[in-house]
Every structure is written in C-alpha cells, then in structure tokens.
C-alpha cells in the first residue's frame, strides 16, 4: 500500500501533482462503466425498478440498467444496476496524505533516536472507548508486528506501554503523564455511528486540556476506516488507515522526534514537541 522506496514522495496533501484525467473502465477505454447495488425501502414493482434507475441516474449513471431486483422481506427491494457514468476523475485534484518522511529500518530509527533524543522514545498505546479490537494496535506495537515487519517493542530505543482494550480517556491521559509519553497511539476500529470520530475528538480535547500546547505528546490515531486526511479535523497529529505497517509508524515518530512539529530538524535532544525534561 505504501511506496517501497525509502524516500519521501513529492507532492503532499496540498501540492498539485501532474495528473491524469480518467474514467472508469469496463471493457473498453473510456466506457465509464460501473456497478452499483443498494436497497430501497419499497415493495418490488415496476415503479420500484424505475425508482432504482432514477437513483442511479441521479448518481450520474446514464444509461443505467437495473439488471437485478429482488424483493426482500416486507417493503424492501434490493437492486443491482450497471451503467455508464460520465464523471471524469482528475488525479491532480486528489488529496492524499503521502508519506512525507523517509522510511527507516529499525536500526536507522534506533540510531536517530539515540542521536537526537539521547534517551528512549516513550510510546503509550491503547484502544479507547468501548472498542476492544486490539489486533490493529498490537500489530503496530507488539514484537510480532505485521506484514513481516517487527512491531515497535522490537526497537531498542522505543519504550512501549500498551494499555490494551477499552481504556477510558482519563486513564489514558493519566498513563501518558505517568510514563512521560512522547507519543500516544490510539486505535479505533468500531465506526458505527461514527464512534471512532467521537472518541478521537474526546481524546484529543482531553490532551489539549491536560497539557500545555508545547509539551503535549504527539497524538496518533489509527484504524481501518479512518480517512488519513482528517488529522486536523480530529485534533491529532497524524492518522493511519488500513494496511499501516509498524515501520511506517516508527519512521513517522522518529521523523517527528528529530524534526519537531514544524518538520524542521530538531537542534537538540529534546522530546518531540518541546522540552519536557531539559530546556531546549
């Protein structure tokens, strides 16, 4: 999912990229074909099929062929629609959070931490709220790791405190304080009723409340249904989505540890944002 080279990609979120204009491809260049399915809360009838076509038309499918209509229970009909859209996709308009830091090996990461922090980097991780899906955060933190990469516990210069599942925000803030965390890593997998967004906002607000701006630990959230462009909106420093590997996270943390919040190289062995232990 991520670029295999170890150099940062050019063109991050806000820079224009030289783009391509493309359309969906069914079996011929430019045919614009897509497949759509949905349920409408109406009994099956010709009108229902027309309604399905109308929805597809509103989505820009024209022609839209209702190829399957199945009555379900009482008052619901499921549809499969095929058709052509004329929307153009302009890849130069796509905003993605490209990796804007170099990918490091664990060795390089350890060296960088040692050199610039002169102590271990402290990471506190948890699933907050009622979320008990720990596999994702464990994949990042536990030695075992993910996709063939070892987790953060494997890094000699990183101290990992994994609080596990269903940790409340106050507990998390407390632990971050106690451990003098440089970074707090939070996982959110359940997204029904936007639980992941609500919990993340609650968490970032609590940290803003509990810490002076300059000494707040780096806040990182991750989970399969996050949009990586939402960091600012959620009040966190970085968002990671599905397929994230531990190496990416470690590299990001090291980059921020050695370059500070503004991305400029840190001149001293300070903690990530501003000195907590010593003056910078």
């Amino acid at each position: 999912m991520s670029d295999p080279t170890d150099q940062p990609r050019s063109g991050s979120a806000d820079q224009p990229r030289s783009g391509q204009i493309v359309r969906p491809y069914g079996d011929t260049t430019g045919d614009g074909m897509v497949q759509l399915s949905f349920t409408l809360p109406i009994e099956h009838s010709k009108v229902a099929e027309g309604a399905a076509e109308q929805l597809a038309n509103k989505m820009g499918m024209d022609p839209a062929l209702v190829v399957h209509a199945k009555p379900m229970g009482q008052g619901f009909t499921f549809f499969v629609v095929y058709g052509r859209v004329s929307h153009l996709v302009d890849t130069s308009k796509v905003e993605v959070v490209e990796r804007d830091f170099p990918l490091l090996t664990p060795k390089e990461a350890n060296a960088a931490i040692k050199q610039s922090l002169r102590r271990r980097l402290v990471v506190v991780g948890a699933c907050i709220g009622t979320d008990a899906h720990t596999v994702g955060i464990d994949a990042i933190l536990n030695i075992k790791g993910f996709a063939g990469e070892k987790g953060l516990e494997y890094y000699r210069e990183i101290k990992v405190v994994n609080l596990g599942a269903q940790v409340s925000v106050p507990e998390l803030v407390e632990a971050a304080r106690t451990e003098r965390a440089d970074a707090v890593l939070v996982s959110q997998v359940v997204t029904q009723r936007d639980a992941h967004l609500l919990n993340t906002r609650e968490m970032s607000a609590a940290f803003r409340e509990a810490y002076p701006a300059a000494s707040r630990p780096l806040l990182v959230v991750g989970g399969p249904r996050f949009n990586e462009g939402m960091a600012a909106e959620l009040g966190v420093d970085r968002v990671f989505s599905r397929g994230t590997t531990p190496g990416e996270v470690a590299s990001y943390l090291v980059h921020r540890a050695t370059h500070g919040r503004d991305g400029a190289p840190q001149s001293t062995s300070s903690i990530l944002a501003a000195p907590k232990e010593k003056a910078s």
Binding site: S37, F76, T130, A132, A165, Q166, R193, P224
Partner: protein, 533 residues
C-alpha cells in the same frame, strides 16, 4: 482400531481427553462453589422480582446490593439481610426496600437463629417464585414449539441484528426470520460487558449493538412470538450471558424466555480482562440458570481464532470445547444444550485450507456427537472484497453441510466493512440456501480415507489438545491456585496473561462465609447443596 470413527480416532484418546478436562476443571468448580459475586447476588434479587432503576439509571438491584454489602459484607450473601428486613417489615416489597436502602433509611443485619430461619423461608419463597416463572417460560417454549412447529431442519440458521436501536432491531429481526432465520441474535453494544450493572428499559442507542436489557428481551421475544406464529415455526432468540453481569443476564434470559445464550467459560477472562475467579463463579451460576431454563448455550471458541492462527491454534479450540463441556455438564446442562463453538478462520491462502477446515469440523463432530455445534463463519480473513467474501462464505456453508453442524452462524460478505445491512443478510441466506439445497446431502458421498490428509490432521489436532490439557493439569503457581488458574496466568491461552488476582470485577468477588445463604443456588444446586448451606 476399535471404534467406528470416520477419522480413525481411538476411543481411548477421546476418553483420555475427557478425563483430563475433568481433572483440570474440577478444582475450578470447587473454587466457584466457595465464592459468590455481586452479580450472583443481584441475579438472586432479580429472580425475586426486583427490577427497575433509579432516576440516574442505576438498577435497584445494584442500589440494594450495595447497601447490604456495606452493612453486612458480601460473604454471607444478600438474601438473609434482605429478607430479614422484609420479615422485619421494613418495606412491603423489594422495590420499596431498595428505595429506602438507597435513601439510607434502612439498615441491614445478618439475622441469626429464628430470625435467620424466617428470613431464609421468606427468601426461598420469593426467589422460588422467580424460578417458577423460569420454569413456566421453559414450558411455554416447549408448548409453543409443539403448537406452531419447530425449525424444519438442521443446521439452524442464525442471523444477527445490531442496529443499536431495539425499535429498528425488531423489524429487521422479523424480516430476517421471514427470510429464513431460525435463530435471531441481538448483538450487544460494545462495552456492555464491562458494565457492572444491566441497563434498564427499551434502549435506542448503542454502538455496533443494542443493550441487553430485560425490556429489550421482552419486546424482541414478543415480536418473534408473533412472527413464529405467522411463519408456523418457533424462531429462537439469542443474547449474551457474558461480561460482568453474566448471572443477571442469564436470570433475565430465563425470565423472558430467551432460547440460547452466548456463554463461555473463559471468554471474559481472556478477551475482556475480567478477573478469572469472578468469571468462573458467575459462569457456574449462569449455567445453572440456563440448565433450568432449557436454554442452549453457545461457547466462544471461535474468538481464539480471530487473534491466533487457525491452523496453529486449532487444538486450543478443541481444548476449550472439552473444558466448556465439562463445566456445562457439571452445571447441569445436557448435551442438546451445548452449542460448542468453532470457526472457519484459516487463511484462505493456506494450501488445502478447505480440507483443513473440514478436518477440524469433523473432529468436533466426532468428539461431541450429540451437541448442536455452533459453526462460525470467516471473519478475520474477510476483506473489503465482498465478492471473495461471498465465495468464502459459500465454502464455509459447504463445510457446515458436510459435517452436520447444529447452528450455522450466517456469514456476511460485508464482514470487514460494516455491521450487516439488510441486503447482506438476504444475500447471505440465499448463499446458505443454495449450498444446503444443492449439496446438503453431499456428506453421503464423502469419506475421507482413514490414513488420508483429513483424518491425519484431525488425529493430530486431538493429540495436541491432549498435550495441552496435560500441560495445564501440571501447571502450578506460588499461591497454589488450581492449575487452570495458573495456566491462564501464564498466558497459555491466546498468549494473554491473566493472573487470578488481577482483572476487572475482582472487587465484586467474595469468599463465602460459613453462614452463606442463597435461595437460588439452593434450588439450582439441587441435592448437591448440603456442603454450603
């Protein structure tokens, strides 16, 4: 070979595995009998009819039990202090007593002598009424099945609803039943398992599930009764007797005629970090209630495979099934009530994955021939590729058909995406129906060679399970805990270390004092209870 095993399994190995499970389980049973928990006590009050909550939403059973505990401690049970107060005329009913207790206008004591005899009698009669209601519900279920009819075939088709809103759940459950579901499970909101109280009333918000409450149970059961009559077959209802309030939820399930309950002997310990002793005590009580109520339990072995590798950890499923069976039988459950869990969770990229799944499923079928095994669909290796997911679910259904599963949890193509949509359920049922109709009797043509890949694998897994049980039996710790507790503390299961003196809910556990009395356990333990009372 002296058996008729299709897998060439020796009867002596099976016996050996069961003996080991009982050696490992019995010390835990003894431990459970020596303890009580806040939730066991509250469940007792619930059986006596105490319901409702204060204006903040704290149930009256919690308010009352907390005060009693503060006044007399937990180790004697709440029954004697509570019914002593009733006999003393502190209130005309339990609700009033709870309100007065909450207001601080009643003090509890531990009655002695004649007072104790009177309190005990009052408690027995009051709780007995609740147990009688449980019995009536069991009879009502049997009656209704006799009248409207039962699910027409095995496996029972098990579908979940999980909108978070009981009033959305109901029409969805009814629709699912009409489309062919034999069992409806209402998934609980995330986090309920860690609440040390049972929420009250009809609830309309939950995350990824709906709160388990008495009123929600009642509403859903009533709706499904209606649908059962409409369809001419009894549609079963399932919920979770799991988490910190396991005993209370079991009691509510018995009172409101739920038909099956998720109820595992170690799930709470391993996956919710609930204290091991709390869990084993709560679990024994809840299973006794289930046994009495004619409720089928569903165990949670599938959960191991969502974090551990389904090939490497196959034997942990077998081990857990054997333990669950032991604990269930000890609590009075019969074979037909044992929905032992297992799951189709092998990475589909593994060569011969389908044959491995078959081997595991056939092993479970042979070990527990009379249990209605609960067969769980792929979840972990489901991705956003809904087409691939639909296919995997089809092959999962095929294993179900080939191995005579009792309860088939229907897999959803959107497993990795959302909690199921109405169309996901419909498509999923269509998948099950195709497989059962087209290949439901394929097992007649299917005879793995006794020395072939499948039989070899099944024997191998059984061997590993026996090895693991031996290892557990021989485990020890400094404080001399039962070996299973020591093993759990070591991280034997799922690599999670859960020491006996840690975990949630520990403060709700008490070692029974000599005078401990609980009218519910008295009835449920039946003849075995002399030791305690």
């Amino acid at each position: 070979m002296t058996t008729t095993s299709r897998l060439g399994i020796e009867a002596t190995d099976v016996r050996r595995a069961r003996t080991l499970a009982s050696e490992v389980g019995q010390p835990i049973v003894d431990l459970a009998r020596q303890h009580t928990t806040v939730s066991v006590e509250r469940a007792t009050l619930r059986l006596a009819g105490l319901a409702g909550a204060d204006p903040d939403g704290t149930p009256w059973v919690n308010r009352l039990a907390d005060v009693v505990r503060a006044d007399t401690g937990l180790e004697h049970g709440v029954a004697l202090p509570v019914w002593d107060a009733m006999v003393r005329g502190e209130a005309e009913d339990l609700m009033t007593l709870a309100q007065k207790a909450a207001a601080g206008s009643v003090t509890f004591r531990l009655p002695e002598g004649q007072d104790a005899v009177a309190a005990r009698a009052a408690a027995r009669s009051s709780v007995g009424a609740g147990i009688a209601r449980v019995d009536r519900q069991r009879a009502a279920r049997e009656q209704m099945i006799a009248t409207v009819g039962d699910a027409p075939r095995k496996p029972w088709i098990y579908l979940i609803v999980a909108t978070g809103d009981i009033h959305e759940d109901i029409p969805q459950a009814q629709a699912a039943a009409r489309e062919g579901a034999d069992v409806i499970a209402v998934i609980r909101s995330t986090g309920q398992s860690l609440l040390d109280f049972v929420p009250e009333g009809a609830t309309r918000e939950g995350f990824a599930g709906t709160y388990a409450t008495q009123e929600n149970f009642r509403l859903m059961r009533a709706a499904l009764d209606e649908t059962s009559r409409e369809l001419g077959r009894y549609v079963r209802l399932t919920n979770y007797a799991s988490g910190l309030c396991m005993p209370e939820i079991a009691a509510l399930a018995g009172l409101e005629r739920l038909d099956m309950m998720l109820n595992d002997s170690m799930y709470g310990i391993l996956f919710r970090d609930i204290n091991p002793i709390r869990t084993f005590v709560d679990q024994r009580f809840s299973r006794q209630v289930h046994a009495r109520a004619g409720i089928i339990i569903n165990t949670g072995e599938d959960n191991y495979l969502t974090t551990a590798d389904a090939v490497e950890a196959a034997h942990t499923v077998t081990t857990s099934q054997l333990l669950n069976e032991f604990f269930a039988k000890e609590a009075g459950l019969e074979d037909w009530q044992l929905g032992l869990g297992h799951a189709f969770e092998i990475d589909p990229e593994v060569p011969d994955s389908f044959r491995l799944e078959l081997a595991h499923a056939m092993l479970a079928r042979e070990l527990f021939p009379d249990a209605p095994l609960k067969w769980m669909p792929p979840t972990r290796h489901m991705t956003g590729d809904i087409f691939r997911g639909y296919l995997l679910d089809g092959f999962f259904n095929l294993v179900g058909a080939l191995t005579g599963q009792g309860i088939l949890l229907v897999g959803m193509m959107t497993e990795a995406v959302v909690t199921p949509w109405i169309s996901d359920r419909d498509l999923a049922l269509q998948n099950v129906r195709y497989v059962m109709n087209a290949a439901g009797r394929l097992h007649e043509d299917f005879h793995p060679a006794p020395d072939g890949f499948i039989a070899d694998r099944a024997r191998h897994v059984l061997g590993e399970a026996i090895g693991l049980l031996e290892q557990i039996r021989d485990d020890t710790d400094e404080s001399g805990d039962p070996p299973l507790l020591a093993a759990i503390a070591d991280g034997t299961f799922g690599l999670m270390k859960r020491p006996a003196d840690k975990g949630r809910g520990l403060d709700g556990v008490a070692r029974k004092a000599p005078g401990y009395y609980n009218p519910a356990t008295e009835v449920l333990d039946g003849e075995n209870l002399d030791g305690e009372s």
